[in-house]
Symmetry: C2
Subunit: 337 residues, 2 copies
């Protein structure tokens, strides 16, 4: 592989001049620039990025840690982080934790060796206990999509999940629903559940613990089983709030399989606003969260701090979800009681 030195010799100049024409910085006469460029082309010279990194202290790569990519929410985060990074010329180093605390720990440890310029952690799964490993990282670290027990030691850009749950609950209350089930991944989605409860509490109503159904994200087939449990329960429900759209879709399927009309017999509200949900039958009412803007803001926070070579401001920003009313929710059916 041709080196900068070789290009310099061929062009009859010094390394510095080659460096100048490659970087476009420092001025070089048109004539020598052309000579250098010719040498570069003839030799097929490509700068060695590792050497450049050592000299400049910048690797132009940012690491992103997510629980999984097989989850529409996180795959959207990955896509948008990559977009934002690429616009600034950065590469993306990806690590997934897969609900494995040991793996998460290794990941953070191996990342702490400054081979990246910044680190973004998405989602609070399995990482709570390992954040301390990052205490003396040599690069800025930020958190996003963090739902429970938001750390105070690092900057975070996340969603107001509690408010999202509240929006879902309030919508259902406005439609007159009094008895609803909540299907949630617990404890991760606790804030969404609490939000919905708060909306009911305003009207003096409660969502009892028996009406909270816990889904296990590690077993996809479990999602449907839970949906079945909901309808098998004797709670005389008129609506279901699912704290993830993927769950909401399973509930819709289970309802249809039992001949329940949506929203005639049962209303369904989801959470996330993933693409499939808008083209479901019927299209689902859901709580939309600004995933892409969250991803983008996180990257900007981090890159700003890289540019200024200072720790990022220890800010916490909470993005607001938004209720999207489609056709899976309607007035509560008159109780036959």
């Amino acid at each position: 592989m041709a080196t900068m030195q070789e290009v310099a010799e061929r062009a009859g100049v010094t390394k510095q001049t080659v460096s100048n024409v490659v970087s476009g910085r420092g001025r070089v006469s048109t004539a020598t620039a052309a000579r250098v460029q010719a040498a570069i082309d003839e030799l097929g010279y490509v700068p060695n990025l590792v050497a450049r990194s050592l000299a400049t202290g910048a690797t132009m790569t940012v690491a992103l840690v997510v629980p999984s990519v097989a989850n529409p929410f996180y795959s959207e985060v990955v896509e948008e982080v990559e977009n934002a990074l690429r616009e600034q010329g950065y590469h993306l180093l990806l690590g997934t934790t897969r609900q494995d605390a040991g793996r998460a720990r290794e990941l953070l440890t191996s990342l702490a060796g400054r081979s990246v310029d910044a680190l973004l952690i998405a989602g609070d799964h399995d990482l709570e206990d390992h954040l301390a490993l990052l205490a003396d990282a040599r690069f800025p670290v930020a958190l996003c999509a963090w739902e429970n027990d938001i750390p105070h030691t690092l900057p975070v850009v996340t969603i107001d999940y509690d408010n999202g749950g509240f929006l879902a609950g309030r919508h259902l209350r406005e439609l007159g629903h009094e008895r609803i089930a909540v299907v949630a991944e617990m404890p991760h989605h606790a804030p969404r559940v609490e939000g919905a409860r708060r909306a009911f509490a305003r009207d003096g109503l409660t969502i009892p613990d028996e009406a909270i159904f816990v889904s296990d994200p590690s077993r996809p087939e479990h999602e449907f089983e839970v949906a079945e449990q909901v309808f098998d329960s004797s709670l005389r429900l008129t609506a279901v709030f699912a704290t993830r759209d993927v769950l909401a879709l399973r509930i819709l399927e289970a309802a249809r399989l039992r001949g329940l009309a949506v929203p005639g017999d049962i209303s369904i509200v989801g959470f996330d606003d993933i693409a499939e949900v808008g083209s479901a039958h019927p299209p689902l009412t859901t709580v939309a969260i600004p995933t892409r803007s969250m991803a983008r803001q996180s990257v900007e926070l981090l890159l700003r701090s890289v540019a200024d070579s200072m720790r990022p401001d220890n800010t916490m920003s909470l993005l607001r979800p938004r209720l999207i009313v489609r056709s899976s929710t309607g007035p509560a059916p008159r109780a036959a009681d």
Copy 2:
């Protein structure tokens, strides 16, 4: 940040010795090793990976290029590639092309600067024309999940897609189906379609062009529209072969919405064997492809070549798909003709 030199001074030894204890290579007396380790701990020393890379010529990171991560097939590839990489101590640099040839081009160009030890490209979307950019890459390159016009210039580990289509078609033929529709993303899935046609041709039957329905992957809502078109057609179909499970699921949904019994009125065969398909209602018959083993073999091929520091053998390996019969396929209903 502490440097190796500083650790050496503190421990009263030379850099080399510190390097030895850090790497575990070259022997060091227990006593000095302990002194060095103490200095490392006191200073919070972490080796600078970039410097190490420049010295060794290895970055311990491998790049993976995929069309998208919002696709269950590719997200499985990403996961398994990451697994295989991590086992060997490598990091994953991820790039997605998003059906944007310009973006794909930029990606490959920016990767060519030897900041990675190897490159794996999954999927043939948008890359056909840019492979030449990799001609003088300083690291090994391999292809996987390549379906059309497999290049001869690079090693590839892929699926026998044509055979997958054949398995689906043969299964349907064995059940007595004569008139089927194929829903496919074209031209990408052409081999799967051809495979199915081949199975029919053995019995002197053809799948006419009108029975091939093209789905547009860039518009998720289009998938359902296509499913509707299939049932609106006047082809008197008894089965549908969808070249992706996600499509098969939409077809199942459309069938149910019209009151068609699956498999009583219509049989459905998918392709991929993604997790959701096994817990659908009914569970879908599908062509399972060894995605994880493909990902793993690709990584091993690449890493072997990195270890030997030679070009990978220009091999082409074709992994065999397997038909998984579940409950969405049954005997063709007796025609009422």
